[in-house]
Structures are given as C-alpha cells and as structure tokens.
C-alpha cells in the first residue's frame, strides 16, 4: 500500500507540475479571454495544492514524523493567505507572478522538509515574516513618488554595506558573505542587489550623457570590486551583468555593452591568474573527475545525483541527495532533479523562465524610464541568478555558488527575492493605473472588444 502511494505520487507530481508549467505559457495565447485566464490561474492554484499535498503525504509516510502534519497545515494557511490577500488587496497584481512565487515556495518547502525538517521550519518562519513585510511594498511603490530621487542613498548605502562585509564579514566556503546580528545571519549583498538596481535606474533615468555615465560606471565598478574582495564571485558577476544590461537598454548603445563585456572578460582572465579560488572553480569545472576527491567532489556528486535520478527521479527519500555538500543551498536543483526527476527539473526551469518573462514584460509596458529600468534590472538579477545556479550544478558553466531564488535554503536570499517579486507586483499595479489614465485608444479598443463579446454572448443565448 505504501509503495502504491509513493510510486503513484512520483508520477502524479511530475504530471501536475508539467501541466502547471504548460499553463504558465499557454495563458498568453491571444484567443484567451479574461475569464479563460482567470480559470487557468485558479487551475494553477489547484495543481499547486495537489502537488503540495501529495508530496507531504510522501514525506509523512517515509519520515513517519507526525510533526509534518502540523507543519503542512501551517504551510497551507500561509499559501492560502498569500493568494487571498493579494487578490483582495491588489486585484490588479499579476496573478501569474503570485502563482509562480507560491509554486516555487512549495517546491522549496517540499525539498527542504525532505532534506532537513529543521531547516524547512526556519525557512518557513522567514517566509512568513517576509510575506507580512513585503505585502506592503506594492502599496508603497504606488504611493511614494520620490523613490527615484533617493539616488545616492541607494548608491552610497550599497557600497557601505559591501565594504563593511569585505572588512568584517564572516567567512563561509571561502567567501565573505554574511554578518551575524543577534544570532541571525544576514547576507547584505542579497539586499544590496536591489539597492543597486534602484541606484542605476535612478542615475540612468536622469541623463545618459557621458560624464554622468562615467560617474555611474565608477560606482558600479566599486560595487563589483568590493564583492571580488569578499571573494563573492557569483555576486560580482551578477552585479556586473545587471549593470551592462541596464546601461545598454538606457543608452541604446550596444557598443557600451560590448566594451563592458570585453573589459569584463579581461578582468576575468586576470582574476583567474590572481586568485586561487577562481582557478579551483575552473579546474573543478573542466575535469571534475580528475579531482573527484577534492575540488571536484561537489560537482561530481551533483552529476551523480542528476544522472541517477534520470527523467522520472528516484522518488522522495529514495535517493542520496545529502551526499552533495551544501545541497540545501547552492545545490538544491540537483536534489530536486535526483528525487523528483529530470522532467520536473526542466519544468522548474520553465517556471523560472516564466517569472523572468513576466519581469521583462512589465519593463516593456512601463512608460516611465525609472520604473522600466527597475523592472529590467530586477528581472536580470533574477534571470541571471537562475542561470548561474542551474548552469553551475549541471556543469554547464563553472559553479559560482549562488542560490536558486525562492527555492534554496537561506533567509536573506528568500527575503530579498520576495521583495523583488513584491516590487514587480507594485509596478504591475502602477502600470494598470498608467494605462487607465493615459491610454485612450486602448480603452476604446477594449470597448469594442467588450461589445463584441457581448454580441457573442447574446448570440449564444
């Protein structure tokens, strides 16, 4: 009996999640009416709760820990609250983004419960606090009009935090990443990412004259420099790419981006020869099998996990994901791939892509340059981080030690990503207001559509 449940649930989870991922994209089809879309989004919610339920039954059966039942109930309350509160407080928010946010949290809770219930509970606690705080963010984005005037608060504040961490940070896995305040470990770079995007957006929306650009670039370079000093290579790379992308879009000059890319590559080569830990990462990437017992241990274990899992996965509690060091954080994708399967992992990438598209979609729609750049910057932060972590654990690129947003264990990462999602929601709401106030032609079109639809309804009746 136990076997039937565990085996069937393995395939059910894959099927449900595949349908969920499909709906993320099919919802954009032109023929879909608003009612259709609403139905799809509700369908996604049901699928999410199914997956969540099935997986927790598995976990309960396999771990035989009754605590799971109560923990599961708390999770359901949190997820339901997020969905309901967003619908009532922000009816104009993007439902797809809310759904994806919850879905990724569900995957995170499932995997962390399986790996370490203690960590899962900590993560859940942080999720609750973060959700309560970030629920106000869309409101503030809407109300506070002087956000773009705080340029130097973002810039100087960010550099100050990064400098502090470079000087006094705690070393973990070779990099200085965190402070410990009152027993809680905080990774400031996760939050500085957001400040940095705000800083660059506010600078670039003021002017794109050369002198102004040089000022901005120097500030950006300082950010990257402090991260390199802290040996946070993944972080440095993200800041660097985000700046190039924003610079390119704001100035419309591909040459700037190309120039940046070339000088960045030079810097990377210099870093390779200068820093041992850079060489180690590249070495472990080029031929991990040659250094399997040393530098290549983590990545080879990760590849064993992904490979052994195959397309359908070994099933929850059937694999050995704990063989991978720091599996809950940087290598959570490998654990997911091992136990839930390669198909599930591919769908997870699709859901992340769906989030990324929604982020850039709002950038496309925003009229005001400042908000446009913020959406672009945050979208790039998110998309590039997803690429770095999944690319790293699958040996597509050298591993840089970054987390998978919303899925990996880590309070700062979770909190900052929830802030990013909330800001994006704020922009969606802002955009809808913009639309209602300014875009007359659209309104007229909508009217025409509405009457058409009415006609159809009449005909059907």
């Amino acid at each position: 009996m136990v076997n039937i449940i565990v085996e069937a649930s393995k395939y059910l989870i894959i099927i449900f999640f595949a349908v969920y991922a499909y709906l993320c994209f099919s919802v954009f089809s032109n023929r879909k009416t608003d009612e259709d879309k609403a139905a799809i989004f509700s369908g996604q919610n049901r699928l999410m709760f199914f997956i969540h339920f099935i997986a927790n039954v598995d976990i309960l059966i396999k771990s035989e820990n009754k605590e799971i039942i109560i923990f599961y109930a708390y999770q359901v309350i949190l997820l339901a609250s997020i969905l309901i509160l967003y619908r009532f407080l922000y009816p104009k928010a993007s439902r797809l983004v809310v759904n994806n946010m919850c879905m990724l949290l569900v995957i995170s809770f499932i995997m962390l419960s399986r790996l370490s219930l203690d960590k899962a509970q900590k993560q859940f606690f942080i999720a609750v606090i973060s959700m309560i705080i970030t629920l106000f963010i869309p409101f503030f984005i809407h109300k506070i009009k002087y956000l773009k005037k705080l340029t130097w608060i973002y810039g100087i504040g960010g550099i100050f935090l990064l400098a502090a961490i470079a000087v006094a940070g705690r070393v973990s896995y070779g990099a200085k990443l965190s402070f410990s305040i009152g027993g809680i470990s905080i990774q400031p770079s996760e939050f500085v990412k957001i400040m940095f995007v705000f800083f660059v957006s506010s600078m670039l929306c003021q002017s794109t004259e050369l002198r102004h650009l040089i000022k901005t670039t120097i500030m950006a370079a300082l950010h990257v420099l402090f991260l390199v000093i802290s040996k946070d290579l993944g972080g440095a790379l993200i800041f660097f790419i985000v700046y190039l992308v924003m610079l390119y879009v704001a100035t419309k000059r591909p040459l700037y981006a190309l120039g940046g890319l070339v000088s960045g590559s030079f810097a990377a080569v210099i870093a390779y020869f200068l820093f041992r830990h850079v060489r180690v990462r590249v070495l472990a990437w080029k031929d991990p099998w040659a250094v399997m017992k040393g530098e290549g241990y983590q990545i080879t274990q990760s590849l064993f996990a992904i490979g052994t899992g195959g397309w359908f996965g070994l099933g929850l509690y059937q694999g050995l994901p704990k063989k991978i060091p720091v599996v809950e954080q940087d290598f959570i994708f490998s654990a997911i791939s091992e136990e839930l399967g390669g198909i599930f992992a591919l769908c997870l990438i699709l859901v992340c892509i769906s989030c990324f598209i929604m982020f850039l979609n709002i950038a496309l729609q925003m009229k005001e340059q400042f908000y446009k750049l913020i959406a672009l910057g945050l979208g790039t932060v998110y998309g590039f981080q997803v690429f770095l972590t999944i690319g790293g654990v699958t040996k597509f690129i050298p591993s840089t030690g970054v987390t998978l947003p919303l899925v990996s264990y880590g309070g700062s990462s979770l909190f900052s990503t929830l802030i990013i999602f909330a800001i994006i929601q704020g922009l969606y709401i802002l955009r809808q207001d913009e639309g209602e106030n300014n875009d007359r032609s659209k309104k007229e079109k909508r009217k025409v559509k509405r009457t058409k639809r009415k006609d159809e309804k009449v005909r059907k009746e």
């Binding site: 069937a8 395939y11 052994t308 195959g310 892509i353 672009l376």
Partner: protein
C-alpha cells in the same frame, strides 16, 4: 511602431536571456540522454547501492546468448548469484559479492537497472516486487572460452583471444582459477596472504606480468626495419652462441642455425642473430617504438590491468641490450598487451580498443544499448604490418609453429620460451598469433607457466582454439 522602436533593446535582452535558457535546457537534456550513462556508472557513485534494494541483478550472457551468470530468487526472497559454468568464466565474469570484479563490476550499473516495459515496472513496484535488472551481453564466445579453458588444462597461465577488426574479446582465461559460486565460502582462504594459492584471484590475462621471451622479437624486428632501409639484405652466420663483453647468448637448446637472413632468424627464433641485431639498434629509438606500442603506457582497457615495462636506455650495458633484444632482460608484458599488439598487426596496424561488453538489453531481450567498436589508432603503418604479417606467416610455414600449417584456416604467429628463473630450462611457453578464414579472424596470446618451449605447449593450445573458432 513607435512602441516597438522604443523597446528594441528590451526585446534584444529578452531574446538573449531566452537563448541562454534554451541552451541550458538543451544541455540538461543532452546530459541526461548522452552523458549521464557513463557518469553514473562510476564506481564512486554511491547511489548504485540504492538500486540493489529495488532490482534483482540481471543476467550476464555470452555473445551467443548463453547465460553465464544469473540471480536466483528463492520463494522466501533470498537471492543467490549463480554461475552455471563455474570456473570456466571465473576471472572474466568475476563475482558480485566481496567487492566486484570482471564483467560483474564493469556492467554493475546496467545489471542493477531495469528497462523493462514501464507499465510492467510500475505494476511490480505497486506489488512491492523487485524488477528484473537488464542483461549484459558480453563479447565472449562460449565455445572459444570453453576450449581455451580446457586446452590450458592443469597448467597455470592465461589465454586471451580478440577479434582484430573490432576489439571484441572472445575469450579470457586465467589459471589457477576458482569457483565463483563458492566465492563467499572460499574468500577468506583466498585472500589470506600466507596461503600459497593467494594469487588465484589475480586475472593473469590482464594483471600477470611475464618476460615476453621470443615473442618480443616482433618488436625488435620492427625497430630493425625502421632503422635499416635495406633490412632484407641482412645476413648472419649463427654458430649457436654469441659472446660479447664476456656475455654469451645461446640459441634455444644449443641449436645452430647457420647462415640466416632476417625472416629466417624470425622463423627459427634465432637468439644469436637477434642479440646481434640488438647491438646495432639505437636504444632511445627502440624505447620510443616500444612506448608507441604501449609499453610503459596506460592501456585502453576498462578492467584492472598492469602496465607493461620496457627500460632499455643509453646507459644499459651489453648484456642487458642483448637480453632485451631476445625478450629476456627486464622487459615485462601482460598477455592482454601482447594480444593487443598481435591484433593490431593482424588488423593492418590499427588497434581496436579491446572490450568485453557487447550490448545491454532488458530482461526480455529488447536492446537497450549497443557498444560500437572504437579505434585506438595506428600502432604501426600498414606497410610495417604487412611485413610483420609475412614474417609471422613464415613462422607457421617454415619455423617453430609448423603444427599450425595446412589447416582450413591461415595461421600466423610467433612462439616464445621465456626463462624466468636461474634454473636452466625452466621457461614459460608463449604463443602470440592470429588466424583467418574468409572474413573471420581471431588474434590471441597464450602463456603456459613453466611449461617449456612455446612450440611444444602454447602452440597446440592455440591450435585447439583456432580449430574451435573456425570449425
């Protein structure tokens, strides 16, 4: 229009990112389809053990479909690994408990995975019954293996036979042997170092290092050919012994060969003439040649093996030079390595990587994966291979392996008697050679420990194998 103009850069960024995401997903699919098989087969993959709880270990078959290893499950769920041919396949199939060896180790992951029809697999999983693992089809041929095993008889030694055009290993025998059915019971006595039979588990075909004896004259000849354009003009007057710097080299059992050219020296295995040749060779180049034929090198082979060694250098003295030229001295080879060289000669210089697993199939016989022959590259040129082939054929027609002449197949080879102790006359009996009949071809190396001359012991063993393969 205006809007799309304004957002061109955003579109570019979106497409670039979608592009790299597509690459990432493509790579992930590629990894799962093409790379993961090899990755997860690694003995360092601890996850293999997880499978033993869910899968009944699959069968191992010979290339002609005979089951040579299977797992029997008794009614109370106890599993026993059964080897119907017992000692015959002992080393090459290996054992699956007490650590793993042979094909049991090589194909471990395939044996522990099931590619049964997925509905059947799900059905079994629901019933909480173990699925049947995939079968591994080896390259071995039952008849050839059995013949080789019987032909070696009570002698210690090894036989390895390879198909030159593919690298398929057709037989691999090592003696003394053991009964793999009894491995759990005899293990303790086999591994205790004081026991005299402690080398029983050693696969002599791949891990036994022997002096090559006269079979090494193949390499000496090859080097002489490379250093002398008109090597065919070489003549030497054999008086039965050659003395230089106080060291004397004798021909086998005091034979006197008289005036010999190169091909006759090879056919008669004239030690005196080869010692003479050795003295003319450039030691550094000779070493280079041997290393290009994989002495002192890693072999392209998946099971544990020993590296062959060749240590001649500028500093070597006359005695060592003369000894080395006739295959004594410090040179050591494995039967596997000699068989590979012979196989390359038979295959016009190209070495095919030797392999033991032909394919895997699910338990009901549906193919899962087929291994294709892989070329290692040219060990010698086609022209050189042609000359050595001619010399080896002459050994059969006019030389030390006449027993093989006049058969339904064409045989060629080189005998050897490798002295391994100071006691005169105690020597290992060697034969390396190949034979063909139409398209069918087989190369082999035979060594019978302490038996005496190659022509007396090793050649008849080779003949039995050829007979069994071609008739």
């Amino acid at each position: 229009m205006k809007k799309s103009e304004r957002n061109k850069e955003l579109a570019v960024i979106t497409y670039i990112f979608l592009g790299i995401f597509m690459l990432l997903m493509g790579y992930f699919v590629y990894f799962n389809v093409f790379v993961s098989e090899e990755v997860i087969n690694s003995p360092y993959n601890a996850r293999q053990d997880v499978f033993e709880d869910r899968i009944v270990r699959g069968d191992i078959l010979t290339n002609d479909g005979t089951v040579v290893a299977k797992t029997e499950v008794s009614s109370d769920g106890n599993q026993t690994r059964v080897y119907p041919y017992g000692n015959v396949f002992a080393h090459v199939i290996g054992y699956a408990s007490k650590g793993k060896s042979g094909i049991e180790s090589l194909g471990n992951f395939s044996l522990l995975r099931s590619h049964a029809f997925f509905l059947e697999k799900m059905y079994n999983e629901f019933k909480k019954e173990k699925n049947k693992g995939d079968s591994v089809v080896s390259t071995l041929l039952l008849d050839v293996q059995q013949t080789a095993y019987d032909a070696l008889g009570d002698l210690n030694g090894a036989v390895i036979a390879i198909e030159p055009s593919t690298g398929k290993i057709l037989a691999m025998v090592s003696k003394p042997d053991f009964n793999p059915n009894e491995i759990d019971n005899i293990w303790d006595s086999l591994v205790s170092s004081e026991d005299s039979t402690s080398t029983v588990l050693l696969n002599r075909a791949t891990q036994g290092l022997y002096p090559p004896g006269s079979t090494f004259k193949i390499l000496t000849t090859l080097e002489f050919l490379r250093e002398n354009k008109n090597a065919s003009d070489y003549t030497f007057d054999c008086q039965g012994s050659l003395t230089k710097d106080g060291v004397t080299i004798n021909c086998y059992k005091g034979s006197v060969h008289g005036s010999v050219d190169l091909i006759t020296s090879f056919a008669k295995s004239c030690n005196t003439s080869y010692a003479n040749i050795g003295l003319t060779l450039n030691n550094t180049k000779f070493k280079g040649l041997c290393e290009s034929l994989l002495f002192n090198q890693k072999l392209p082979f998946e099971l544990p093996y020993k590296k062959s060694s060749f240590v001649l250098s500028k500093k070597s003295d006359t005695s060592e030079i003369m000894q080395t030229a006739i295959g004594q001295g410090k040179t050591q080879v494995t039967p596997l390595h000699m068989a590979m060289i012979t196989s390359a000669i038979a295959n016009d210089g190209e070495l095919m990587v030797p392999y033991l697993i032909d394919s895997t199939q699910n338990y009901s016989g549906v193919s899962v994966k087929k291994n294709k022959p892989v070329s290692y590259g040219k060990l010698l040129t086609e022209k050189e291979a042609g000359i050595i082939q001619e010399y080896m054929e002459n050994v059969v027609t006019n030389g030390t392996a006449k027993t093989l002449a006049g058969q339904s197949y064409q045989a060629a080879g080189k005998t050897g008697s490798a002295e391994f102790s100071n006691v005169k006359g105690e020597s290992h009996s060697w034969f390396v050679g190949y034979a063909n009949k139409g398209e069918k071809e087989i190369a082999l190396a035979v060594i019978a420990e302490g038996a005496g001359a190659g022509s007396e012991y090793a050649v008849p063993i080779a003949k039995k194998i050829f007979d069994s393969y071609f008739n």
